[in-house]
């Protein structure tokens, strides 16, 4: 059985090894380490439950699964081997050193065909909490579907490298014309220090990480810390916003749970927004037959197609109310919020009411 520490050491060697060389420790091809955060809903939230879901997913993807160590798995395909760490049975980490495009294809197929799997969806505020000294920033705002043409800012692609990325965000955010387009798509950081080692790590809003250089163990610690914060965020959403009904004595009912209110930070054309949101495609993957109930007010009893869970959405020009069912996953709300920041307005946020 492979020790987790030995596995991390092998990945560190793979990051530093010359591309195209032999397998490192007979296990990993040389290359940068691509890590993908996966949110899983095994039937039973336990190591055994995670194993069962992982094995079913591997079969569906034509991959061969093999146990490497405690809650550590290899998924072998025709072109590359990937590794899945299920130490946290709900928030898995997939590691691979093959081409990023191949890894993304596997992850896309996994989440498209298995409703119990989703990726992480990191909102702007959380992504900016990545450890270390930020020196790389990518903004890729795209509001074609939800805002349409005739917008002051419709699409942006900004790639910044240097020591002051926060200053650029502040600068753009202070101008009302551009503030809505300051969605953070990826952050690059130097993590660690001279004492424990250093690593170059990039994190993006879809829960994708790349360790481009340095000590993978240092990068893995930073990833774990961000994943921990993400888990707290998702569980917090569930604790607060799942609407739970309980019988009260013989004839009453108690309703527990808040309505989540998402503020767009701007006024939007609701009909346009509703028309673009329920197309059942990435990234929102929401399906509904929406209904207009008043001037610029729409409701939708929707289904999150990722996980097959119902949720109620109520739209006005400035806000969206979301009511989660008792079983609806917090990741559904995280995905909606994060993608509205990327595709509607970067100032979109959950507000306390």
């Amino acid at each position: 059985m492979l020790d987790r520490q030995d596995f991390l050491n092998s990945l560190t060697k793979a990051v530093g090894a010359a591309p195209g060389g032999e397998l490192v420790d007979g296990l990993v091809t040389p290359g940068t380490v691509k890590t993908r955060l996966l949110e899983a809903h095994p039937a039973e939230m336990s190591p055994e439950g995670a194993q069962s879901l992982l094995e079913q997913t591997a079969v569906r993807l034509n991959l061969k699964s093999r146990k490497l160590g405690d809650e550590l798995w290899a998924l072998a395909g025709a072109e590359q081997t990937m590794f899945v760490d299920t130490l946290n049975p709900r928030f898995w980490q997939l590691h691979a050193t093959g081409p990023a495009g191949d890894v993304n294809r596997v992850v896309r197929r996994a989440v498209a065909t298995e409703p119990r799997l989703d990726t992480g969806w990191l909102p702007k505020a959380l992504l900016r909490k990545l450890d270390g000294q930020h020196h790389h920033l990518r903004l890729a705002f795209d509001a074609d579907d939800l805002l349409g043409r005739d917008q002051a800012v419709r699409r942006t692609r900004i790639r910044f490298e240097g020591e002051a990325p926060d200053g650029l965000l502040d600068l753009l955010g202070s101008d009302p014309t551009y503030a809505g387009a300051t969605s953070v798509t990826a952050v690059g950081s130097r993590v660690g220090n001279a004492g424990v080692g250093m690593a170059q790590l990039v994190a993006d809003y879809r829960g994708a990480f790349v360790t481009a250089a340095g000590d993978f163990e240092v990068a893995a610690n930073a990833i774990w810390r961000l994943v921990d914060q993400y888990e707290q965020f998702v569980r917090g959403l569930e604790a607060r916003y799942r609407v739970v009904f309980k019988p009260l004595e013989d004839e009453g009912l108690t309703v527990d749970g808040d309505v989540a209110v998402i503020d767009f930070g701007r006024e939007v054309d609701v009909e346009r927004l509703v028309g673009g949101l329920f197309l059942a495609k990435e990234p929102f993957r929401l399906w509904a037959v929406p209904r207009q109930i008043d001037d610029e007010e729409w409701i939708a009893d929707a289904v999150d197609l990722h996980v097959g869970q119902p949720l109620r959405l109520e739209f006005s020009p400035t806000q969206l109310r979301v009511m989660l069912e008792p079983e609806t996953c917090g990741n559904t709300l995280a995905r909606l919020l994060t993608n509205l920041q990327q595709h509607l307005d970067a100032r979109t946020r959950l507000i306390a009411v």
Binding site: L253, F278, L279, G308, R312, M323, V353
Partner: protein, 208 residues
């Protein structure tokens, strides 16, 4: 702990007069379309206010139907349950289970209330199965010993990942007719070109 009366604004004066007559000291929150007013002996932290043009207009629909709701309102929520079952590739949707998710008072409901609500769900399912979901679902109405259920015979989730969104969109369009509405405006079919599409290459730099 302080008593709070929540009333429609048009009856506010009557409620306030009644409270005064009976010597009850209580806050009154009155609401109307785009308007809210909280007044009365407010405790600390709950200041009186009058708000107009509040962005949260309709109250959130936490309990949306009951066993006396019209069929079209129940059909909308049954359609959502069918969509959720299709997304999970469930072959069967148990109607009593769907009822308990649609109508959260289900566990408190009398036997006759349950029967009435189930009958509504069956009517909705029958209607959908004969129209927009023809060939997609089939109703097994059940009997004394057999629970009523919907058999799901087809789901867009079985399409490949490229065809799946179109299949879901098609189902939504067909159901929109049954549910008596049009969807939101689809995005324009003629999107503007992105700079990425223009492939400018490095020509400008080379010419300099």
């Amino acid at each position: 702990m302080a008593p709070l009366f929540i009333v429609m604004n048009d009856v506010r004066a009557d409620v306030e007069a009644a409270l005064q007559r009976w010597g009850i000291e209580a806050l009154v929150l009155s609401i109307d379309r785009g308007f809210a007013r909280l007044d009365g002996p407010c405790p600390e932290g709950l200041e009186p206010f009058v708000r107009e043009r509040t962005p949260r207009t309709w109250p959130p629909g936490r309990i949306r139907v009951d066993h006396q709701s019209p069929l079209e309102e129940v059909a909308e929520l049954l359609a959502q349950q069918i969509g959720a079952a299709q997304a999970k590739r469930q072959p069967v949707l148990d109607l009593a289970e769907a009822a308990s998710r649609i109508y959260r008072m289900w566990s408190q409901l009398s036997q006759s209330g349950r029967r009435e609500f189930l009958r509504k769900l069956k009517d909705c399912a029958r209607y959908l199965a004969a129209s927009s979901l023809k060939g997609v679902i089939r109703l097994e109405a059940g009997s004394n010993n057999v629970a009523p259920r919907i058999l799901i015979e087809r789901t867009p989730a079985d399409r490949d990942t490229r065809g799946m969104p179109q299949a879901w969109q098609g189902q939504a369009r067909r159901m929109a007719t049954d549910l008596g509405r049009g969807g939101g405006a689809p995005p324009e079919e003629d999107p503007q070109l992105s700079l990425d599409d223009l492939d400018l290459g490095e020509a400008d730099e080379g010419d300099a």
